[in-house]
Amino acid sequence: MIERRSRLRRFLEIEVPVLAIVAFALAPYAWMVLTSLKPQSEVTQTPITYLPAAPTLEHYAELFQRTSFGGNLVNSLIVACGAVALALALSVPAAYAFSRFRFAGRKVLLVQFLVINMFPIVLLIIPLFVLMRQLGLLDTYVALIAGHGTFTIPFAVWMMTSYMNGIPAELDEAAMIDGCSRLQTIRRVVLPLAAPGIVTTAIYVFVTSWNEYLFAMMLSGNTVRTVTVALQSFIGEFTIQWGLLTAGGTLVALPVTILFLLVQRRLVGGLTAGAVKT
């Protein structure tokens, strides 16, 4: 009897509030997906219906047939992959240096990577727009990849450094004693062991670039428009067709949700570095 009552109490005190929080977290997402599955007549009907009476994929079909959304998806994919390549190429060697060498200015340089992460985007975006315009790079992949790649580098460096710190330096030393050069050691020992950290960093850069809006809006025109900018522009183009918007939103949100769930624990560990011991 006591046992049952305390279980009921735990259910009311813990599981019910958790359920409420989970519902709050998921409701807008669910509402977007539900709206995207309703036919146009049902989207604009009052009083509104909660579950689609006749679920349809017509908005998804229209999205690819009548709008440039397919091309926008490809643009976002190219930019995000380019940003991943750029950020990894630069941050992995930097993290290796921070993790394996003790040199003058190490702390200052590591901290400066943290500081530049904190600058307001408005502070950077105005001159970057002017710079890219002078270089004739507006509306090119190069401009967006450079922008997204660069502002993800600081955090990528921190994450990779803490990951590499977890790989015992004795392993490098053993490889070097066995006659490996430094570059061979990096290729055969450090990089394979750091692979999970590199994958996490890559996913972080990919998601950040995929989700980014302000740089993409400022630096791209019609040629390399990304999905986030395209979605926003649907508002003007179609006097807010919510069916199309929610279908597009669902398609954009799905891959990042999955990727993000895969790496969320390590991301938070990196972000709160210094507070939570990882």
Partner: protein, 297 residues
């Protein structure tokens, strides 16, 4: 190769590994920062590129007398305090609950992260759709529950627009606190609770005497980091209200952005961005000092 020169090469090695990352961040971050600071001293208007007079601190003086600046600053304060505060409270509650054991805990932990993963534009569009006057689910639900008798224009009314956007941002940001605090909770040794229980502490006392003091570091870091992000963020407001109605949802970064992007007044926008940065400097310094402590390990 002489011994001295090979030793020099060895000492320079770390800098070779660092050079590419440093070079690029200098070009794309430090150069623009310096440019913005310089630009703020000129009356630089984009469609008038040949006539850029030096005005010294003219833009800053103008800003002091600009009513929209003060409104934006006030909104920014409400924005940061409320959004960060609500994100923290909700995230803290979520973390405490998710630290208890129940059979679907791992599912709940994963699902709570979802809002954080979504692009700001989609978040803004989703909520704009939910706040919609005629077709929005929020008006519909509130009417069905009897809280309001007719639809309310949440985003179009000056009284509620800012708070409606703050609710959206709370939704977006609370998972960050939940996950960070949960990680902190898991690091608290169980012996502390056992000792407290033996001493006859109530659950409420355990929360205040054990849990919160143990989490102080995590909470401080998370609050600082989030304050910086929220103070700088403008994409959600930009998409949801564009700063309107009137100036009611203008925050400082949004105002700077709008002056530069729509008004083409790059000099003035730059001055606003510089002021924002200077105001945030102390928060950034506090965060960096905390994070830098771990570097020497």
């Amino acid at each position: 190769m002489t011994l001295a020169s090979s030793r020099l090469a060895a000492r320079l090695q770390p800098y070779f590994f660092l050079a590419p990352a440093l070079l690029v961040t200098v070009c794309i971050v430090f150069y623009p920062v310096v440019q913005t600071a310089t630009m703020s001293l000129y009356d630089f208007i984009l469609y008038r590129p040949r006539n850029v007079p030096f005005v010294g601190f003219g833009n800053y003086v103008r800003l002091w007398n600009d009513e929209a600046f003060w409104i934006s600053l006030g909104n920014s304060v409400i924005w940061v305090v409320l959004a960060v505060g609500l994100q923290f409270l909700l995230g803290f509650a979520a973390a405490l609950l998710l630290n208890e054991s129940f059979f679907w805990r791992s599912v709940a932990r994963a699902v709570v992260i979802v809002p954080w993963a979504l692009p700001s534009v989609i978040i803004a569009l989703m909520w704009t759709w939910m706040y919609d006057f005629n077709l929005g689910v929020i008006n519909d639900a509130l009417m069905r529950l009897g809280f309001i008798s007719e639809p309310y224009p949440w985003l179009a009314s000056p009284d509620t627009a800012l708070y409606a956007v703050i609710l959206t941002l709370t939704w977006q940001g609370f998972p960050f606190f939940a996950v960070a605090i949960l990680a902190g909770l898991q690091a608290i040794p169980a012996e502390l609770y056992e000792a407290a229980e033996i001493d006859g502490a109530t659950r409420w006392q355990m929360l205040w005497r054990v849990t919160i003091p143990s989490l102080a570091g995590v909470i401080a870091t998370a609050l600082l980091l989030r304050t910086i992000w929220v103070a700088n963020s403008l994409d959600v407001i930009l998409v949801m209200t564009g700063g309107g109605p009137g100036y009611t949802t203008h925050t400082l970064p949004l105002y700077a952005f709008l002056r530069a992007q729509q008004g083409m007044e790059y000099g003035y926008g730059a001055a606003l961005a510089v002021v924002l940065t200077i105001m945030l400097l102390s928060v950034v310094a506090a965060y960096v000092a905390r994070a830098a402590r771990g570097v020497d390990r």
